[in-house]
Symmetry: T
Subunit: 69 residues, 12 copies
């Protein structure tokens, strides 16, 4: 088996519900166009505020997937 190569793309998932839900939203979108999704790394947790409450979470994350060689 030859040595594997992976690529990382940087996505921002958002959610009104929770940090975990924002992560999953980004993965669901990535899964529509990328194969072999393997891992993710959160790099920033942010969000917008409306009327003194969290309007939505924004999770900046890298998603790693194996490239076909």
């Amino acid at each position: 088996m030859s040595d594997r190569v992976y690529k990382k793309v940087e996505l921002v998932g958002t959610s009104k519900a929770s940090i975990e839900d924002a992560i999953q939203n980004a993965l669901t979108t990535a899964d529509q166009t990328l194969d072999h999704l393997d891992w993710f790394e959160v790099s920033e947790i942010r969000g917008h505020i409306s009327d003194g409450r969290v309007a939505h979470y924004q999770v900046v994350m890298k998603v790693g997937f194996r490239l076909d060689r």
Copy 2:
């Protein structure tokens, strides 16, 4: 419309329940004295431990709001 200016303050929200709840607690407090709260950025997630369990989460975050000019 003139160019906007924003200020960021650094807060630490705490909660026994969850990271999201700690974020909201900080926003609720900020909202009592600051207008135009716009966004937040989490910079640290920490917490205290009691009897081997999370006693409370501490979320260090910056909160951005628009200044009146």
Copy 3:
């Protein structure tokens, strides 16, 4: 009372359920062998992906505890 000294160890908690649960799993394990657990600091949030969904969260964290002198 003499001046206290603390030690920090680096753990990675994992969970299928949530970030908070991954944190607690690491603390539960640390509590089995370490006394005086005092605080934790999250340094990375990562995870593995399976079939386009979060398979498990991995939370890299430092756990601080007081040393007996």
Copy 4:
């Protein structure tokens, strides 16, 4: 003369024109309410895009000023 103490606040200046103009806009606003403004440190340069062009620059910066003691 006693030892001086300074405070730093974090502002975000914006401008449609240039990075330098965004910096000055933040300083002009700060100067309305703070005395003894002394120095600034740029920490981020960002901006919004509209129709493929820079809509406005956002310069995140710390502004230092001397406190009266």
Copy 5:
């Protein structure tokens, strides 16, 4: 309205004229192949020197855009 997902790509714009021009050059190129360009974040400002003068500025930046879901 469903939760939005964004992608960030990393570009290096160059210009003989100014930092702002280097930023715009990267955006102009990105705009040819990407829709919904939304924001940019400068991560490095560099450049080449020729005969003791700036030959061109190189601005490393991330460009964020909304993904269709």
Copy 6:
């Protein structure tokens, strides 16, 4: 007891004598206008030089205090 919220402000203490004295000078000033000072975090140690000797130390630090809710 409700969940506590803290604020951090960034100060620069100076002293001709020592790093510890510069820290205390910033705290003494902060204590004049802020209640519930709780902890500090040093982020930079700098200083000015005069005639080849330290003229004064400058300690950049964050000071955390509990907010009344």
Copy 7:
């Protein structure tokens, strides 16, 4: 000649043999689909362990290439 624009992608090359070989493996894969590969920057060196020995090196790197305009 107009001002050039470059793009950086993030890859992870792996190799059982050496760090240099892991770098080359990532470049060989990138070269199959990208033109004008110009430079790389290593951001992390990691690896997996099997039976107390390095099973393979993982080199996280950014690869820069010129975009056609």
Copy 8:
């Protein structure tokens, strides 16, 4: 002589007196259970405040020591 291997542990020394004393307190504790202590690296200087004065310094540091092979 075979190639040496070292380990680093992370400690937090505290002291009411000074930063140097907090460092020494951590080393004194480490020396009770670890052999071949060789070097230390300060990573954070923090502290607690009581009545507007430094109650104690907390110095987070890594301590390196040679492992027997």
Copy 9:
């Protein structure tokens, strides 16, 4: 199968021969006292110089291993 927990320890491997050899030396030592070694992350590459040549490489690295629960 319950959720796994991992620990990371920080080691410094040294070698006169190469960076890869310094990494392996640290792993070989770790393997004598730790079970389930799983991955490593290089955090610093340094070394000593003697007579204008590399006397030995020092690779600071974290080694992760699974804890029995």
Copy 10:
């Protein structure tokens, strides 16, 4: 052709006019005593404030040049 070696020096250019002018001022000074100036990397953008306006920009930058071997 033998393998080239470069050196980087750290300079702070200042200017009342603009960031780009501060960069050029540093390069002009460096060019008086150093040969083969090749590239620069901006590491900080700061400045002094006078009467609520930018008195001068300070650009901290590294300047790279080839060494004769």
Copy 11:
């Protein structure tokens, strides 16, 4: 008066006595060969250990000075 240009050099001062003394030792040495020493910035505090006690402090610092133009 033309715009000033400064240079920063990186030194490591050592002292058996204190952190402040290590800083001063580096400045005293720098002052022997450099004119117009202006400011310093501490980037690391480290040290060597002998018999469980601090053998000497090592303070890594940048020293800034004005260049004649």
Copy 12:
């Protein structure tokens, strides 16, 4: 014996062969003009690509040496 003072200079070694060879090339050049070379610290590993292969490695590193006092 008086307290020692060290200086660090930043070099970029290059090599077509390997990372280790690039490090040695920088040291060999430094050794021609500097006495008492003591240690090095790698801060970046980069390189240029030609025809899909590593054309040369570029290792950015700091080299520390003792100053005569």
